[in-house]
């Protein structure tokens, strides 16, 4: 099972998924992120899925769950870099990513998170 690395940059945790996701790896990522959020007190999570070729219902549900868990630690989750073919497929599959925001790329994702901290700060 592959592990997805988590980087902390300022108040944000940054995850870039570059592997063909197996179910166990996604569950592991969810647990690792919860640990990191409590350990660091980060206020935001950016998950880059540029390298992800498909998001099926299981992976989609896990991304939503990560969003819900992050919220319990007062952190916002933004999914960035979704491929057009993945977006079309997700919609047809009938899946909506509740609990997470999406942005075109990491830069726009950071803007969303920074906007949030300004609002709260």
């Amino acid at each position: 099972m592959d592990q997805v690395p988590i980087l902390k940059i300022g108040q944000t945790l940054f995850v870039s998924i570059q592997i063909d996701l197996q179910d166990d790896s996604v569950i592991r990522l969810q647990e690792d992120l919860a640990e990191e959020l409590t350990a660091t007190g980060a206020r935001g999570v950016i998950i880059d899925i540029t390298g992800v070729e498909i998001v099926d219902s299981f992976i989609g549900r896990m991304l939503s769950t990560i969003g819900s868990i992050s919220r319990l630690f007062d952190a916002e989750t933004v999914i960035v870099g979704m491929r057009p073919a993945v977006a079309i497929t997700l919609t047809e599959l009938g899946l909506s990513l509740n609990g997470v925001r999406t942005a075109l790329n990491a830069e726009k994702g950071l803007e969303i998170l920074n906007g949030k901290s300004r609002l709260n700060g």
Binding site: D20, Q22, S57, F58, R61, L93
Partner: protein, 131 residues
Amino acid sequence: MDELPIRSGDDVVRVRQQVRTTAAENGLSLVDQTKLVTAASELARNTLVHGGGGTARVEVVKSPTGRTGVKLRFTDEGPGIADIGLALTDGWSSGTGLGLGLSGSRRLVDEFELSSQPGAGTSVVVVKWSR
């Protein structure tokens, strides 16, 4: 034609990769490849989780009008599905999932055939045609 075992999460990933390669080699567009691979992922997971493991068969088929398609067959010898109509309903789930696996994957492909009987396993055949 390739027949692949589905016994673990790694096998599900291998099925996805094989479907991707076959779809790309046979002229499916990137969006159609993604739809087929996503459907394959849902169905392979069903085979593993609900069917207790099984096999996936990947083959290239030709339509009477000369179009090329990729046909996938997922077979397990698990408990089977008692009510197929119900199982194909959006939001219906036997437990752990979102209830989009079967109904969602049916929307992603051009042909979808599910046969199952309680105690006699389940087989799902799907086809995606090149445009």
